[in-house]
Symmetry: C2
Subunit: 221 residues, 2 copies
């Protein structure tokens, strides 16, 4: 996320389209994540920017397209992180655990992204569907998972019959729920799923779960 925090136009040009655009996106990301799509206010986004509301319409066209642009940028960040995955030099068990941990870390570090995804699901992914950019790209992580799974299955370590997409769903669900539902879960069960001192506990739990699933002894069935 290319955060713009220039101290009030000092140094740079007064009129910088790229900077203005980026600043609007930064503020809009926070505002949409905070209040939801309908709850976010274009006026409020403009007010927190060094520009005016008219600029939002000038650059993005409207609230809907602004939200789509926010989503596109948010997804591009995780796509990029996934492209830097480097776990294939490890043995399959260690590689999967490492991958799960990286997913875990990424979710923890980007709560705004998780909120945006929740919001987009409330709207039935209509903005993703309308975005060529988002509809096109898949997930680099899937290729990595595929290769690890294949190698693990070949060596006889992995017994589970899953494909990369399903395993990705399994890993994501745990990471996503922990961050996305921490408020209702905390309020109802009195346990903070993202408490700092429980971080390692849940990180290990995720890895244990995925490895146990993949390597379970299925001859006993």
């Amino acid at each position: 996320m290319t955060t713009v925090e220039e101290p009030a136009r000092s140094g740079g040009r007064l009129r910088d389209a790229a900077r203005t655009r980026a600043e609007i996106l930064d503020v809009a990301t926070k505002e949409f994540a905070r209040a939801g799509y309908a709850g976010a206010r274009v006026d409020e986004i403009a007010a927190r920017t060094r520009t005016t509301k008219r600029m939002i319409y000038y650059y993005f066209g409207g609230k809907e397209q602004l939200f789509t642009a926010v989503l596109e940028r948010a997804y591009s960040v995780i796509r990029q992180a996934e492209q830097e995955l480097d776990v294939e030099h490890l043995d399959p068990v260690a590689a999967i655990r490492r991958l799960a941990e990286l997913t875990f870390d990424h979710h923890e570090e980007h709560p705004d992204f998780i909120r945006l995804v929740s919001i987009e699901n409330i709207h039935e992914a209509e903005h993703i569907a309308a975005s060529e950019e988002l509809a096109r790209i898949g997930s680099p992580a899937l290729d990595v998972i595929s290769r690890i799974l294949e190698s693990g299955r070949k060596s006889g370590l992995f017994t589970a019959d899953v494909d990369a997409v399903d395993l990705h769903a399994m890993i994501s669900s745990f990471c996503f729920f922990r961050v996305a539902n921490r408020h209702t879960f905390g309020a109802l069960f009195g346990r903070d799923l993202v408490a700092a001192d429980q971080r390692e506990h849940y990180r290990a739990m995720l890895g244990d779960m995925v490895i146990a699933y993949l390597t379970a002894d299925r001859t006993a069935d």
Copy 2:
């Protein structure tokens, strides 16, 4: 106005406070689940009801309290379902699998409830926190899980060191994600997590995952 416009208020009296209240809650549940808290319109809720907008303020006080009432009723439904859990006559492994499957089924059958929970998390569970009713009650399922875990650990079948709350989180995360994130997941990865012909696949996957985690051979660590 003698011309009858309505099918004359099914059955009962014309003025029925309980029926009117319930009808408002029904419609409000759908509307909030559909559009989010800020996106839902009090006018729209009223219009879909046989009563008027004024009645919403008469019975609930305002939009915020209406949403809280919607949440309270939604949670009371799952609380009730959990109270009917009857799995403790099974052996621990079968009991946990059955419990996971019931959770799986409940999530699938109540997509509106899942949406409301997502929405409430966007608002950081402020309505739950403000509701005595919701803050008070826990989850009957937790007691059931506790007892199964204890019996499974005593008999040496379960090796994992988890408590009921964490196991509940693990099971819920899979079930919740599958329903809540089906739109973005489907749009990005081209896989419908709630496709009817994949239902048994994911149901089994959940059970396998939880059992594998609980019974994994931990001597090899």
